[in-house]
Amino acid sequence: MSDLFEKYEGKLPKKVLVELKEATKGLKSPEVKKTLERVYGEFVANKAVPGEAVGIIAAQSIGEPGTQMTMRTFHYAGVAELAVPQGLPRFIEIVDLRKEPSMPVMEIYLTDSIRKDEEKVIAFAERLENVPLSDIATVEEDFAKKRITITFNEMRLNEHGLTVEDAIKKIEKAVRRKAKEKKDNNLVFEPGFNTLRSLRKFVDRIHETKLCGVKGIRKAVVLQEHDGSGWYIKTDGSNLAAVLKMAEVEPSRVYTNHIREIEDVLGIEAARNAVLIEAKAVLDGQGLKVNPRHVMLVADVMCYDGQVRPIGRQGVSGSKSSVFARAAFEETVKHLHAASIKGQKDMLTGITENIIIGQTIPVGTGLVKLGMKQGK
């Protein structure tokens, strides 16, 4: 029986094989053989034909429903701050590959020992939050005496698992100055600036000093897992590298919507999958049916170079080999000048180039080349 399936290993998609194995359980081997033959026959018949302009079809399949996408942002129930853009704006963000998504969000799942205990998860979430000093202490500035007094709120300090000593150390390190006085939960700085402006700047820096948590994570919310088996954390802000290193975190289930970060931390394959997942999620969220193969191609185009590049003049379109193709897209004059300096050659292998020259495009029937001997 299994050798029957072996024959089709690599010929049929894995998913189909698994499903077939399940479905043909209890069938006799000639029946299984017949089934496999039929499925393989249909699979081969359903293959795309060489010469198919798969790129254009993919682009159209994603671009066409773009007009039907909404522009609203989605608010997570109970967490007003997490306003994640959906629909068209988010999709544009994905293909443009913004340095930082307008709303970076992480989903952090914890190891089995913690995730079932809501209290522990909440405690961990609090440790994640990147707390600025102004949240835990009051800062008073006396501009006349050029003195700054920081008064810690011990309760809030404890909430985040900090001691006064820790806090003081961190502040001193951040402002690169020793404190003038330290009294229980009071801290006094006399930085010795002469101008008011530099003093103000100094105060701002104190305010902004992050005392604990993971850099970049502004807020962490605890939510119940879908199957109700435990709790997980959703964050505003993303820092994949730091979160992955934490012992409490189950690394295989951490997720972020920050594609560039995924590329930096996990590499190009992961980034490609991230593009695919994020793009598909937007389309599904809008109730638009698009074959994942199209989205896949977009993800692959963004990644086949070994690094994630945006769609558009900063990325894929701007780094094409053809001068004409680049000039016809955007920044016409710039590309023409650059090409002339470098003495570039356009080999006319793409679509736009050949349309510009007025020749048959190398797609579909135009891809087939025939050699012909001229008659006598």
Binding site: L12, P13, V16, A23, E42, A48, P50, G51, A53, V54, G55, A59, Q60, S61, E64, P65, G66, T67, T70, M71, R72, G78, V79, A80, E81, I92, V95, K289, V290, N291, P292, R293, M296, L297, V301, Y304, I311, G315, K320, S322, A325, A327, A328, T332, V333, H337, S340, I341, K342, G343, Q344, D346, M347, G350, I351, T352, I355, I356, T365, M372
Partner: protein, 890 residues
């Protein structure tokens, strides 16, 4: 054409470079000296910008360079000798880097000989152009920093660029002539290291000494009605250049002071700069007398209306027509109705052979409709067939000729509607010449074109070669596009009235007399009349509809009208929602949205091929509409009316909602409202109120629906999925409901209130845009205003969205257009780089896929699918009216 070799020349590659002054002079026909264009008689002045050596734009004149006339002379270049060299703006950046990276006195690259050698080998080893570019950038960065030349030990002073074209060396002005001298010193090998191709682009060529003058044909002057000549912007600019050039020459020969000469030189530089690009930052654009900025060379090329995008990437064509469209369900989906007037004008070329000579002669003989408009002789000359030469044409017609006959029934054409967002925006149809002045199309093909008939226009193209026709027919024919390549399910499908008709016809107790049945079947072109299945020689609607189903079709699925009961009674469903078709015969169930648009059509296409799906769509449309027209189907004002009882019930619901809202508001003011975590108190209140009001409208809608009954036309349409939803019915009959701006209740307006009619700080339901009336009752002025606010937002939103998604699609298309599936199963781009080793990871064609799956493994999966869909409908969400319906025409 016959007998001649059919091989055409092909452009293999295009090389870019900078024009050297030598070549510019060599390709020049004449040196242009005078800034004047025409003399008093309107004749081009010798040595002027309109000189006859540069080509002709006036009929009757002959080109002095090639002797050609307006139609044959392509135009020729001339040149202007610039008295003083001038920098080309486009290359300022390169000149700047070259000045900084090379020695100020000996012109060598500022790197030690060892380093140079090292970089040379590195550059040789570079594998990709990108690597080379990075390498060059590094070289440039390194050499910029040198303060002393490693070759001649000269001190290197700082060079500054004052944009756009002025260079300084230590406060000392570097004149273009000095720069040119320095550029000449740079060795070819050093240039190569910096990524400059010295063979095609010597840097000194960027400092212009001889300026090419483009042919007059590229800058034709227009003669206005008054007889005045209006010159092209480029000519204006060239006149400016010539004038200043002349003045500069005069001043130099008169021995004017250096200061004056430099001023004029700068002016010449300004004019040459704006001649190339009139949008350079740092200098004011050159303007026309009217104040409009001139459109010079760069402006001609760039942007949407520039040469590249307007003329090169998109080209105008002949043999096309455009007119308004209207529907005709009697056509096949493969057909397009073409007005006589258009069919008479468009032609199809047919090559004359000895076998079709007689057939084609018939076209040349008559002057009535299908006639030959033109005849093309073997030498390629086109001749119009007229009354006078008809006899001659007939006489000489022989193999080797081509007859251009008028468009006829069955001809292959392409039909298109903009915006052409996907490939099914342009499909192949067969012509059906019809009276009337509009293009006619089958209502089922509206979907792919996204067309309606409120004034839409569409384009028609007639392919002119056999290859084009063959390709159109085998790749683009409508029936082959039934399944969308986007999601692998039907996109060409019956809609609206077809669904309504199908439902009404296939309901359980619908009977047709033999007479009616035969007439209806005849309309659908079905001549095979079955035996009556009901007593008294009567037919059930189910039987009649079954006649357009394929005989071998057996399928079971749940219809749109399915109420999703916890336990399905299958065949005994009281709503007749369980469709069971056995051997092409409907046993139970009604035909509605699922039948016409999903399951049924999908199954027919996959199992029996596209011919069968075309037949099904054609016949079912005609059949169903014939039956529907017999029955009659209207929606009128009376259909919106609900009885007094219902109105009281609805009023009670709304009153209850109001009380609940007020209760929440009171709680809010009293500070008793419990905050939803993560939200502000106001946000919590809004959430609660919105939930109440959403629910109120929903309940009101259900009350209205209850009183309207299941036979109400609007209700039927919404239930079977033909048009509209329960929400639309609700708004018409019961209550319009909350108007939304930015996804919430209306908040802005005056200080602390939305309109002057309310108290400050009032947040009750009416004060925040709740419309209590129904469209039937009519809106109060205040409600009307809120409704308009919501409507306006919808319109604005729609506009922004189309613009944004349009640009995104342009970017996507541009990035992906070169990707083609090759014969080895890989997807590669234009430079043969592999993007995917197997297309879509399994090589399956999305158009042949069943949804997302490459192979359909389970026969009954439809029923499961529907079950899943039902399950995934998700949480209840309050829906707002966004006013996104089509308003106005087109």
């Amino acid at each position: 054409m016959m007998g001649k070799p059919q091989v055409t020349k092909k452009v293999k590659c295009v090389e870019f470079g900078i024009l050297s002054p030598d070549i510019a002079r060599k390709m020049s026909q004449i040196r242009v000296v005078t800034p004047d264009t025409y003399d008093e008689d309107g004749y081009p002045i010798e040595g002027g910008l309109m000189d006859l050596h540069l080509g002709v734009i006036d009929p009757g004149l002959r080109c002095k360079a090639c002797g050609g006339r307006m139609a044959t002379c392509p135009g020729h270049f001339g040149h202007i000798e610039l008295v003083r060299p001038v920098i080309h703006v486009g290359y300022v950046k390169m000149i700047y880097t070259l000045l900084k990276t090379t020695c100020r006195s000996c012109g060598r690259l500022l790197l030690t000989p060892e380093k140079l050698e090292q970089y040379r080998t590195l550059l040789m080893e570079a594998e990709s152009t990108e690597e080379e570019e990075d390498q060059s950038l590094e070289i440039i960065e390194k050499s910029k920093k040198a303060s002393e030349c490693p070759h001649c030990k000269a001190k290197q002073s700082q060079i500054k660029l004052i944009k756009p074209t002025t260079f300084y060396e230590k406060e000392q002005r570097l004149l273009p002539s000095d720069i040119r001298r320095r550029m000449e010193l740079i060795a070819d090998d050093d240039l190569k290291l910096m990524g400059v191709d010295a063979d095609n682009a010597r840097p000194e060529w960027c400092i212009l000494t001889a300026l090419p003058v483009p042919p007059v044909t590229t800058r034709p002057s227009i003669t206005l009605e008054t007889g005045e000549r209006s010159e092209d912007d480029l000519t204006h600019k060239l006149v400016d250049i010539l004038r200043i050039n002349q003045r500069l020459r005069d001043n130099i020969s008169a021995g004017a002071p250096q200061l004056i000469i430099e001023d004029l030189w700068d002016l010449l530089q300004y004019h040459v700069t704006t001649y190339f690009n009139n949008e350079v930052s740092g200098i004011p654009p050159a303007r026309h007398r009217s104040g409009r900025p001139l459109k010079t060379l760069a402006q001609r090329l760039k942007g949407k209306e520039g040469r590249f995008r307007y003329n090169l990437s998109g080209k105008r064509v002949n043999f096309s027509a455009r007119t308004v469209i209207s529907p005709d369900p009697n056509l096949s989906i493969n057909e397009v109705g073409v007005p006589y007037e258009i069919a008479e004008e468009l032609t199809v070329p047919e090559a004359v052979t000895e076998w079709n000579l007689d057939y084609l002669k018939k076209f040349a003989e008559t002057d009535k409709y299908p006639k030959a408009n033109y005849v093309i002789k073997p030498d390629g000359r086109r001749k119009k067939v007229t009354e006078i030469n008809r006899a001659d044409v007939l006489e000489e017609l022989a193999p080797g000729y081509t007859v251009e006959r008028q468009l006829m029934d069955g001809d292959i054409v392409l039909f298109n509607r903009q915006p052409s967002l996907h490939r099914i925006s342009m499909m192949c149809h067969r012509v059906k010449v019809l009276p009337g002045k509009t293009f006619r199309l089958h209502p089922a093909v509206c979907k792919p074109y996204n067309a309606d008939f409120d004034g839409d226009e569409m384009n028609l193209h007639v392919p002119q070669t056999e290859e084009a026709r063959a390709e159109a027919l085998s790749l683009m024919l409508v029936q082959d596009q039934v399944i969308s390549p986007r999601f692998g399910a039907p996109i060409i499908k019956g809609d609206e009235d077809i669904i309504t008709g199908g439902y009404l016809m296939t309901q359980r107790n619908v009977k047709f007399s033999k007479n009616d049945a035969e007439r209806i079947l005849m309309k659908a072109g079905i001549t095979d009349i079955p035996e009556p299945d009901l007593p008294d020689n009567q037919y059930s609607g189910k039987l009649l509809f079954s006649q357009c189903l394929p005989k071998r079709l057996s399928i079971e699925y749940k219809a749109e009208v399915c109420r999703k009961c916890p336990e399905c009674k299958k065949e005994k469903c009281e709503y007749d929602a369980y469709v069971k078709i056995k051997s092409g015969r409907i046993i139970t169930g009604v035909m509605d949205k699922v039948g016409f648009q999903g399951t049924l059509l999908n199954d027919i296409t996959r199992k029996f091929g596209t011919d069968e799906s075309r037949r099904f769509i054609d016949q079912s449309t005609a059949l169903v509409l014939a039956a529907l027209m017999d029955r009659g189907f209207t929606v009128s004002l009376a259909d919106m009316e609900i009885p007094k009882d219902a109105q009281t019930e609805i009023a009670a619901v709304l009153k209850d909602a109001k009380e609940q809202t007020n209760a929440f508001i009171r709680k809010y003011h009293a500070g008793e409202l419990k905050r939803i975590p993560g939200k502000t108190l106001e946000g919590t209140l809004e959430d609660n109120i919105m939930a109440i009001l959403g629910k109120a409208r929903y309940n009101a809608g259900n009350i209205a629906a209850k009183y309207l009954g299941i036979d109400n036309s609007s209700m039927i349409m919404s239930r079977v999925g033909a048009r509209g939803s329960l929400l639309n019915v609700t708004q018409m009959s019961a209550v319009v409901g909350q108007q939304a701006v930015r996804g919430g209740r209306i908040l802005r307006g005056y200080k602390s209130k939305t309109l002057p009619h309310f108290k400050e700080g009032e947040i009750g339901m009416e004060a925040r845009g709740f419309v209590n009336s129904s469209f039937y009752d009519g809106l109060t002025p205040i409600e009307y205003f809120f409704h308009a606010m919501g409507g306006r937002e919808g319109l604005v939103d729609k506009g922004i969205r189309t613009a944004k998604s349009g640009y995104m699609q342009r970017k996507l298309i541009n990035a992906l257009q070169d990707l083609v599936l090759r014969s080895d199963g890989t997807v590669r781009d234009a430079s043969d780089t592999v993007v995917q080793f197997t297309y879509g990871e399994d090589g399956a064609d999305p158009m042949k896929c069943h949804g997302d799956d490459s192979v359909k493994l389970r026969e009954e999966s439809y029923i499961e699918e529907r079950r899943e869909e039902e399950g995934s409908e998700g949480e209840e969400e309050v829906e707002y009216e966004t006013g996104e319906e089509d308003m106005g025409f087109d």
